[in-house]
Symmetry: C2
Subunit: 122 residues, 2 copies
Amino acid sequence: MEQVGYGNQAQNLDAVFAALADPTRRALLTRLAEGEASVGELAAPFQISQPAVSKHLKVLEKAGLVERGIDEQRRPARLKAEPMAEAVEWMSYFKRFWGDSFDQLDDLLVKLKAQQEENKDG
Amino acid sequence: MEQVGYGNQAQNLDAVFAALADPTRRALLTRLAEGEASVGELAAPFQISQPAVSKHLKVLEKAGLVERGIDEQRRPARLKAEPMAEAVEWMSYFKRFWGDSFDQLDDLLVKLKAQQEENKDG
DNA sequence: TACTTCTATAACTAATAGGTTATGGAACAG
DNA sequence: CTGTTCCATAACCTATTAGTTATAGAAGTA
């Protein structure tokens, strides 16, 4: 049984929003959007120590935003963006307070989906 | 110390994501979506002290998510959701990673629309 | 084996966050 | 004025965060 509103996802939302609240971590995610990278590769552009990057990666990992792999000595990090969808979903509750842009995206996707259905039928 | 310039947008994203990382603050925003409320009204349902709520409101205010008014002795809080749009915009860069197939995108859409309907009904 | 590379972890520090109680001030009610 | 209501702020405590340096271990290389 779930209550309406927050509760089940709240804990993960805590972790996701907190992870995104740090500019270095956001930059790491942006870098990872280009492809997986080792700790060393991630640390290089930021001029903070390697242990600091390892810590950031751990925060991202706990939020579910990053997965780690094994490649010889390396432990490459890989982006996992799904938790962002939950964050966006939570914020979508408020979209009527910030205007139509979200609605427009929504409309566009509905139209595209409808076209897909048309193609299936025809 | 910062090495590579994070801009004003980044600073605001820091504040917005950090503000959203607390479940009490998210609950306050959800409450404010129903309309403006005084500090006392906001504090009542949560079992934390009034000064704690005042602090949370200050965090939300600095993130631009809340505005304060004046009504006799009261200082009602009012939702301002625009900064959420910036947060969503930032995350939209990663949309391709949480579903590049239309079916997955459609799943998200269905969830969002379901919430929308809930809001209309509730 | 010995050395180098890559990363994690421990130990420490300084700052911030989230909570408390106490208190004071501003705005109404009498 | 007196008292009450509403709220902000101060002072304080504890836990967490973000960084550091030092070190150890695992894996590849000579």
